[in-house]
Amino acid sequence: MSHMISMMLFILSLALPSYVMAGSSEAGKPILSQVAVVDFANRVQQDLASRGASVAIVSRMGRNPNVLPDGVTYTHVAFWVYSQTTRADGSTGRGYQVYNLYQQAENDTRSSLVQDSPADFFAGAHRLDAGVIIPDVRVQEKLLSVIASPTYAALHNPQYAVLANPNSNRFQNCTEHTLNVLMAALYGTSDVPQIKANIAAYFEPQHIQIGGLKRAFAPAASQALTTADHGPTVSTATFGSIARFMNANELASLVYRITPDSLIRF
């Protein structure tokens, strides 16, 4: 009997979703040097500025892609907004401010909307590699209007799930909030049911291969891994699926990948 139980435990441990040790992210042990992060943040800023982007959708590689599901390369997406900045010492300047939805540290089933800097955005990266979508100029104007309005926060659902279903508002992750804001901008509405109806009709999320056992036991490891808002299959919004949606509907002027020494157009 005890042998059977131990075997079941062992199988269960193998069945849990793509887990890795937190070794790549141990506190106090930076993965990337601050100098490299700051240099890369400025490289991305300068690149966006050279293209005249007032707002862009930028993603980072927060985990080794080898441990991510097929079809997922970037783990965090946010709006970069060209802004006038004033510091406490009175100094001013112009650069990009990052509008994030972050999972809370103290409760991984909750999220908050947080603004931070380009350098902070990449501070938690596994690799200096960013996916960038520069929306069409007309989309940028619409996005700026929404981001600067109460709609931006109204579209936030702090109930966080890693694999949130973008067709439902039961849970939300950073990419889904980005998609909600994009849809609000495109359709000029803050009405969540309408936004969800349009997402369901025109947006094709990234399918995530995940077995029944993994789905069943994932929430035991973390409630943020719930897939209770999905049907038989699991699909979520990703940087890639948003890029495909924008390209397919001619909403993007440029989609590319940028690293410290290369720039590749998708």
Binding site: Q34, Q45, G52, L101, Y102, V114, S117, H156, V162
Partner: protein, 109 residues
């Protein structure tokens, strides 16, 4: 053999961290480490120093854009706007959605 299996299973079951979710690091919680703490959707402050007190989006669509002054990132700056966006978070309750017919496909024309 059974003990080995049990030990191995328990260790593997307990010592795991979700690959996707990761240990998120909010600035307020982890900035003190000044580390590039990796997280999938958490943030990690790059440094601390002169705080940003205001940041206003600039509507310059179609115009020339330049990164100037305090907009340029340097080590030793803290540019997190805690207390601004954090307070703009949602209500905490999921919005109940009812079936709604979609509009037409998105178009800019």
């Amino acid at each position: 053999m059974t003990k080995r299996f049990t030990s191995l299973a328990l260790i593997m079951s307990v010592l795991v961290t979700p690959a996707f979710a990761g240990p998120s690091g909010q600035h307020s919680a982890n900035a003190v480490d000044h580390s590039g703490q990796a997280a999938s959707e958490g943030s990690a402050a790059i440094a601390t120093g002169t705080a940003v007190v205001a940041s206003v989006p600039i509507m310059t669509v179609g115009s020339a854009i330049a990164i100037t002054g305090a907009g340029l990132q340097i080590i030793g700056e803290e540019v997190l706007l805690l207390g601004n966006e954090m307070h703009r978070s949602g209500t905490g309750r999921a919005v109940v959605t009812k079936p709604v017919a979609p509009n037409g496909p998105p178009t800019l024309d």
